[in-house]
């Protein structure tokens, strides 16, 4: 900005980078010396001992600062040394890690810093950052610096394109989702994973009503999911109701809980509401654990009737005198039938959620939610009752969680408090925020990424959640407004390029 002011004698780029690398080295040493350097072990009895791993610490203290050094060089415009060195290291570490994970024999013969392939892969990701940093610096020099406003404008443009595309893309995605079980790749494991992903898509869309549309930060959403699951569990085991009979009751029950919990607290704002909803989520979980007589305590409720095909159970050997799915249709028994049917059920439920959300957005109540999100005080002035409006959002969001919960119970056949921890709420919220609040396609994409990724990484059991947490941070840093940042009022007074004129009330 002030180009005329003589800049103080800038230290050379190398000096600056070396300084940063030195501090990074100290920091990494501080972080790792105790936590990585000494692994504690519990011996028999109550004694503890430790094993040292200074080799691992040493490699971290070497690799990370070298990466930092190259990153600073790359960002300051020096292109080739960082890109070549970091790129080579990335390819080497990543390639070796992949080979190691595949269990190929070449792996032990290569000299590698860590004996765990995943750790090498994580360091390779660091190398990737250096390359990306250099590439970004180069783009900034040729195209002008990427300012905050420019970045936001670009993201909004992309989101708008995605919004327009979604009119075509949405049906295509739905068709793709519908035919997947019939394609050669659609084996049981994949469809099973997709059922899980779709459950979270549905939960994400449900929470989107509360967080994305009404702007209420709910950290205890999983409580309603639990209410739905336990409602079906109890109805099935004590009254013998089927899944289809219980589904509306579970939804109504969850909505009722939404109203009961929401009523006293909805006059709180922002983060206070967040902590109270978090508290309610925990209270419900603790009650589920401790109310042995009703909820079965930590063991939960077992032997819940699994989902049936409109009265036809998916049993290999149906009870005498009754028919089961495969005998009725005269086909061979296969466990895949149930999974595929579950898949279609959850797709239908999710699409209902989506459809209701889209329609509600265009109704007065949806407009009121969006107005409330933007400015509560102005809403009051315009005569909107904030409490009722918020309660509606809370109850409808909770209702969809209740549906999803009852589906969950019908899929698993048993429910226990373990499935309804705070981390589930956090993951659902992350799906909504990462998707770009308010964007339906974004939420689906984020669910696919966040739930599908750990499913793909299932083999790396130990590193699964580590990578999950890391990816959550990285995506948010990469796109702070979400994958598809779409948050603009649905209704504009003068329409957008005249397209929505028809909607403007005369």
């Amino acid at each position: 900005m002030s180009a005329n002011v003589a800049a103080p004698q800038a230290p050379s780029v190398f000096f600056q980078a070396a300084k940063e690398a030195f501090f990074t080295a100290i920091l990494v040493a501080m972080l790792s010396i105790l936590m990585v350097g000494y692994q504690t072990e519990v011996l028999q009895g109550q004694n503890m001992s430790y094993v040292t791993r200074f080799g691992d610490v040493m490699w971290a203290v070497i690799l990370v600062p070298v990466g930092r050094f190259l990153l600073v060089l790359g960002r300051s415009g020096m292109l080739w040394p960082p890109v070549v060195l970091a790129g080579a290291a990335t390819i080497y570490l990543f390639g070796a890690a992949v080979l190691g994970l595949l269990g190929l024999a070449i792996y032990p013969t290569l000299p590698l810093p860590y004996d765990q392939p995943m750790v090498n892969a994580i360091f390779a990701v660091g190398g990737l950052f250096v390359v990306a940093g250099a590439a970004r610096a180069r783009r900034d020099r040729t195209k002008g610096a990427q300012t905050f406003e420019k970045r936001e404008a670009a993201e909004a443009r992309q989101a708008h394109v995605a919004k327009n595309l979604s009119r075509i893309l949405g049906p295509i995605l739905i068709v793709v989702a519908l035919v997947i079980p019939w394609t050669p790749w659609g084996d049981r494991a994949l469809v099973d994973s997709l059922v899980l992903v779709m459950t979270y898509v549905m939960l994400g869309w449900g929470l989107n009503i509360v967080v994305g549309l009404a702007g209420l930060l709910d950290l205890g959403y999983v409580a309603f999911y639990a209410v739905g699951a336990y409602t079906y569990g109890k109805l099935s085991t004590s009254l013998g109701l089927t899944f289809w009979e219980s589904l509306p009751i579970a939804g109504a029950m969850a909505a009722l809980f939404g109203i009961i919990l929401g009523f006293p607290v909805l006059r709180l704002r922002g983060d206070y509401l967040a902590i109270v909803t978090l508290g309610f989520g925990e209270i419900i979980r603790i009650i589920l654990i401790n109310w042995q007589a009703f909820t079965g305590g930590p063991n939960g409720i077992g032997n819940i009737t699994r989902v049936d095909f409109f009265g036809l159970p998916f049993e290999r050997n149906p009870a005498p005198g009754t028919e089961s799915f495969h005998t009725f249709f005269g086909i061979d028994f296969s466990t895949t039938h149930r999974v595929v049917f579950l898949y279609y059920v959850i797709i239908a439920l999710a699409l209902i959620t989506n459809f209701v959300t889209i329609r509600l957005r265009k109704m007065p109540i949806g407009r009121a939610w969006e107005a409330l999100r933007e400015d509560e005080t102005a809403c009051r002035a315009l005569g909107i009752n904030p409490t009722n409006t918020k309660l509606t959002a809370f109850a409808i969001g909770a209702m969809f969680a209740g549906f999803a919960g009852s589906f969950f119970a019908a899929r698993q056949g048993f429910v226990s408090p373990e499935s309804f921890t705070f981390i589930e709420s956090a993951v659902i919220l992350a799906i909504v925020v990462l998707g770009g609040m308010g964007s339906q396609v974004g939420v689906a994409l984020a669910a696919l990424l966040l739930i599908g990724l750990p499913e793909v990484l299932r083999d790396l059991s130990l590193y699964r959640m580590l990578v999950f947490g890391g990816v959550m941070v990285l995506i948010m840093l990469w796109r702070p407004k979400g994958l598809l940042a779409y948050r603009e009022p649905t209704l504009l007074l003068h329409g957008r390029r005249g397209k929505k004129k028809a909607e403007v009330p005369a």
């Binding site: 501080m30 109550q46 009650i287 956090a426 580590l466």
Partner: protein
């Protein structure tokens, strides 16, 4: 007066627990005061503090340092310094790049960081709980109930925890009210942009806030390691939520509020477990939080927010 000895014992226990909550709560309340975000990874930073304290204790054993005050000092100082590095790193990686974007973004990175740190510790230290032998045991018998021979004890460890907390609180208040760093922090809390225009290095001030919060969390972690002596990678979650509850209870953004909230929460939990049921002590804690917020939406000592249109 037959009930009194039992009550007194619960009071002592609750005060000890509350001091620990208060120390963690300060980290939440300071961060919230300055940048208005809930640092969900703070509970896990506390957990890392507890683990590092535990490792220092083990090393003391290997090195043959057996004088207890020296052990205690080494443990506190090393755990504090190394955990502060974690606090700094978390802020630098996950929060600083997101300054000025939408409000929920740092919340999600905080949750991501929390998951990451938990699994990192599980990976490098193993999933099993670590029992720690108590370094300081015994206590002063305060009074004895006539029948049944119930002795009210004030444990040495409990005395240390409460005294240390009081000392840290006093020191901390001095830092906030009397030093240039504290002045910068208060300036950033009031108006970050204006503070930066007046020459306050906002980034460094926020970093220092995280460093201080992590240091206090590490002390809380060390104390818990000595007091309960059972560390696992998941311990930060519940403690973090409780401490955050304490911060909200006392009025988030207020330092004395955090301490008051912590002690109140500790007392509620101790009394509830003693007189009602231990299983529902968390329900009681959250129930009180909800009640307080309904009748006093900004917490006990919080300033009411003035709404600008």
């Amino acid at each position: 007066m037959d009930w009194f000895p039992y009550f007194l014992q619960q009071l002592i226990n609750g005060l000890t627990l509350g001091s620990i909550y208060g120390l963690i709560a300060i980290g939440y309340t300071m961060v919230y005061g300055i940048i208005g975000m809930v640092n969900f990874a703070h509970g896990d930073v506390y957990m890392i503090g507890a683990f590092q304290a535990m490792i220092v204790l083990l090393l003391c054993g290997t090195l043959g340092i057996s004088w207890i005050p020296l052990q205690l000092l080494l443990m506190l100082v090393v755990a504090m310094v190394l955990t502060a590095a974690y606090g700094w790193t978390v802020e630098r990686i996950a929060y600083r790049p997101l300054r000025g974007t939408q409000r929920l973004a740092p919340l999600i990175t905080a949750i991501g960081m929390s998951i990451f740190l938990q699994n990192y510790v599980q990976l490098v230290q193993g999933p099993r709980p670590k029992p720690v032998e108590s370094l300081i045991s015994g206590g002063i018998p305060v009074m004895t109930r006539a029948e049944g021979g119930f002795v009210v004890t004030l444990g040495y460890m409990q005395i240390i925890i409460v005294l240390l907390t009081v000392a840290l609180m006093a020191g901390f208040t001095l830092v906030i009210t009397r030093t240039s760093l504290g002045r910068a922090q208060r300036a950033c809390e009031q108006d970050m942009k204006m503070a930066s225009l007046l020459g306050v290095n906002v980034d460094r001030t926020i970093s220092m806030t995280f460093v201080m919060g992590a240091g206090l969390a590490a002390i809380a972690g060390s104390m818990v390691t000595l007091y309960y002596g059972n560390n696992d990678f998941y311990m930060g979650f519940l403690a973090g939520i409780k401490a955050f509850t304490a911060a909200v209870l006392g009025g988030i953004g207020s330092l004395p509020g955090a301490m008051l909230g912590g002690i109140l929460l500790g007392l509620i939990e101790a009394m509830w477990s003693a007189y009602f049921s231990a299983e529902y002590k968390d329900v009681a804690a959250f129930g009180v939080l909800v009640l307080v917020l309904i009748f006093r939406p900004t917490g006990l000592l919080g300033r009411p927010e003035v709404e600008k249109v």
